[in-house]
Symmetry: C2
Subunit: 145 residues, 2 copies
């Protein structure tokens, strides 16, 4: 009788422990604090439709690689500005620990290379961008979580 | 003996139930799915420093109101574009359920009004913005979580 009781109590105890561990894991967010990136690039007026169509349904292998290299919450916006030119503004959050290595992994990916062969000719990078940049980085002047 | 056993089993059962409820609450995210907003506005070159300084330390009452009206993850970026003009690009996520009402609450707030009296003269809104807009909204052409 005592053995049965101990067995039941032991089982229930184990379940409770698993339960507590589950709660702890659900509460703890193991992801790194994101680093935000805002960038800008020109978009050729004659490529407007092509660019929009491509991005309304990006290739699954490209989407997967974006995720693999720790990019999250990635948006691209479009606006015609007072100079009559179109510009694209991108915002994303990087949740990895080695941005340069991850960007290299993206640039080395054959699918991403094929994708950029299609999207690059749509874009018109800024002349005063930093060396190695395609999209020109912008300065963050304000942030509030 | 039986009564003791029932009491122990009952107590353990109740704790497990509370445990499960806790896990459920931890897993369920009660916040509304955010709606993203990207906007652009010009910044007067002679106001560059003033605008940066203001936004490096925004007034606590303005920060509080931004949060109160359900704006989250709010960033403003700055870049000089090929036309030689400076532009500000904003990105934020709205987590409320009535955007118009919340924006009205912000516009009616005396502290925010005082803040805008200082920041508006720094900015140069786009001529082709929508009626009622100050910052001109941009079109989202891509998003990936």
């Amino acid at each position: 009788m005592n053995a049965t009781r101990h067995f039941i109590a032991g089982t229930i105890g184990a379940v409770m422990l698993a339960c507590a561990a589950g709660m702890f894991l659900a509460a703890a967010k193991p992801e790194v604090k994101p680093v935000r990136y805002g960038s800008v690039i020109g978009l050729r007026a004659e490529k407007l439709d092509e660019y929009k169509k491509l991005h309304a349904a990006i290739w699954p292998e490209v989407a997967k690689r974006i995720r693999d290299v720790n990019i999250r919450n990635y948006s691209i916006y479009l606006r015609k500005l007072p100079d009559g030119q179109y510009y694209l503004f991108s915002y994303f959050e990087y949740v990895g620990t080695d941005f340069e290595a991850d960007m290299k992994r993206m640039a080395d990916d054959p699918d991403t290379k094929r994708w950029w062969k299609v999207t690059d000719p749509c874009q018109k990078p800024l002349d005063d961008r930093q060396p190695k940049e395609w999209w020109a980085s912008m300065d963050e002047v304000f942030h509030q979580d």
